[in-house]
């Protein structure tokens, strides 16, 4: 899923300080599952904004609404009748949400309520970890099913680098060296020799480096 984290309240307050009718817009997709942008968090953020206003002796209206998804135009459409009632919208979906909203409602003031972090999963409840960098050409099968592009700090394809010490990455003792894990895994699998082969420079053309990406599926296009 796409993993996001709520922005510091102060930052959000600063964004919306000049607005008095605010819509907090949640998303039932990934951000619900990672407990940051669902109806629950929408309510919490709305309440927080109201408390802040009350403290500063300010009268504001905050309402919350949660869309099925903020990455599909049909759902974005659902609020077409209400959006004009607000002078600011705080989207707590991933980075896609605020953009789809801005594109659909050019006149609306849309603010991001969360910081989109990465594509990953919950390694345990309340702890998420990055797994995919969306490079556009998956290679994990070469590395014992683990992705060095997303999980090696240098995205090395012929790692590990000299900075790997007792299983940790040189950037931090809290970061596992994925290459250390890959090597162990492949050794256990008896496939170590595969790692001895030189991996040639990868084409980043399918990745972000190849420019903004879009996917067209002719058989689906209407």
């Amino acid at each position: 899923m796409i993993v996001a984290e709520q922005k510091p309240i102060k930052e959000i307050l600063e964004m919306v300080k000049d607005y008095n009718k605010i819509l907090v817009l949640g998303c039932k997709g990934c951000v619900t599952v990672c407990n940051v942008g669902g109806s629950k968090e929408a309510a919490i953020l709305a309440s927080t904004l109201k408390i802040a206003a009350r403290k500063n002796g300010k009268k504001i209206e905050v309402e919350e609404h949660t869309l099925e998804r903020q990455c599909d135009p049909e759902y974005i459409d659902e609020i077409k009748d209400m959006i004009d009632d607000y002078d600011a919208v705080v989207s707590i979906a991933c980075g896609v949400g605020p953009q789809f909203l801005s594109e659909r409602y050019p006149s609306a003031r849309v603010f991001p309520g969360v910081d989109t972090k990465f594509m990953g999963g919950a390694v345990e409840h309340g702890i998420w970890s990055e797994r995919c960098a969306g490079c556009g050409t998956c290679v994990v099968h070469h590395f014992g099913g683990l992705c060095p592009i997303a999980r090696c700090s240098k995205s090395l394809l012929n790692g590990p680098c000299g900075g790997s010490s007792n299983g940790k990455c040189e950037i931090s003792k809290d970061v596992d060296c994925i290459w250390d894990i890959i090597v162990r895994r492949m050794t256990e699998l008896g496939r170590l020799e595969e790692l001895l082969e030189f991996v040639p420079p990868k084409s980043w053309i399918t990745a972000r480096d190849g420019g903004p990406r879009r996917l067209i599926r002719e058989e689906l296009v209407l």
């Binding site: 990868k202 084409s203 053309i205 480096d209 190849g210």
Partner: protein, 310 residues
């Protein structure tokens, strides 16, 4: 402490109020220094400074700083070009220190063409910072004497900071504001994209002058003589942000067999003549791509010679 920011020849020429004339020279796609020297020889004495391109159109060439040093040895003043595509902020700053240490005094700051256009489309690009930020970086290093992280530099590099501007890219209205932004960021001089649509350029300059930009920095108009109709068509169609009026293509076609190149040069000369008079234009940047040997002739005809000694 001199009144000069860098003390480069180009800077002196412009400050002295002369109509500047800069040329361009692409490094070889190899280590063929002799070929480079030969191209440079054509420019010697004809221009105040020579732009040395940096993996232009994302095609790998000898590194621009190395080529610039060669020019320096040959007694020309290089205008060292740097793109943001291939370096992060560490490499950028260290290269700036390096080129300055070796006597380079002009630097043109560019974002760089996306590698997709070049001969290594599968490369990973950097774009750690953009051209605007690059200008700011060089200025910070020169005027503040610090790196981007605020740390002091032991002997800061004093470079004459150039930036590019394309009057013809979309959205047209925004272009002049972007120019202003670059100047604000620290550009001392601007070299524009090569100009063919004179009306558009006049409009552009008018706006720039209205904003007083010409007083804040030196704007050099970009000129590239058309060698052939094919080149004109290619430029019109293939090169992004290039504006080649159909009228020009017609005119070239009209020139008749074997005379197209001459017509191209003739048009270029006319342009230069107009630029000399145009308010806010401080000079011309001549981009005779793979045509260096014709530069002396063009300079002559454009009445650019001899170049002033400052």
């Amino acid at each position: 402490m001199s009144e000069y920011k860098s003390g480069s020849n180009l800077e002196k020429v412009l400050k002295a109020g002369h109509f500047a004339f800069t040329g361009e020279c692409g490094p070889p796609q190899g280590a063929n220094v002799e070929h480079l020297k030969e191209k440079a020889a054509h420019l010697k004495g004809c221009v105040d400074a020579v732009n040395v391109t940096d993996n232009q159109t994302a095609v790998v060439r000898m590194s621009s700083w190395a080529a610039s040093l060669v020019l320096l040895q040959e007694g020309l003043e290089p205008n060292f070009q740097m793109v943001c595509r291939d370096r992060n902020r560490l490499a950028i700053q260290s290269d700036i220190l390096g080129v300055y240490a070796h006597g380079i005094r002009n630097m043109l700051c560019l974002s760089g063409d996306h590698q997709r256009f070049g001969n290594h489309p599968e490369a990973k690009n950097v774009f750690d910072i953009d051209s605007m930020q690059l200008i700011y970086t060089v200025k910070t290093m020169r005027d503040e004497g610090t790196f981007l992280n605020g740390q002091d530099i032991d002997v800061p590099p004093k470079l004459f900071i150039g930036a590019a501007s394309n009057p013809f890219a979309e959205p047209f209205e925004f272009r002049v504001y972007r120019l202003a932004k670059k100047i604000a960021a620290g550009a001392d001089f601007i070299q524009t994209q090569c100009i063919y649509n004179m009306d558009r350029f006049r409009e552009f300059m008018k706006r720039a002058v209205d904003m007083g930009l010409h007083e804040k920095c030196y704007i050099l108009a970009g000129v590239t003589p058309m060698k052939s109709v094919g080149m004109a068509r290619y430029m019109a169609k293939q090169v992004p942000g290039m504006d080649v009026p159909a009228s020009l293509i017609k005119r070239l076609q009209g020139a008749g067999k074997g005379k197209v190149a001459g017509e191209g040069i003739k048009f270029a000369i006319e342009q230069i003549e107009e630029f000399k008079e145009m308010e806010g234009v401080a000079g011309v940047h001549l981009m005779a791509i793979e045509w260096e040997h014709r530069v002396p002739e063009i300079s002559e005809l454009a009445g650019m010679l001899p170049r002033p000694k400052v």
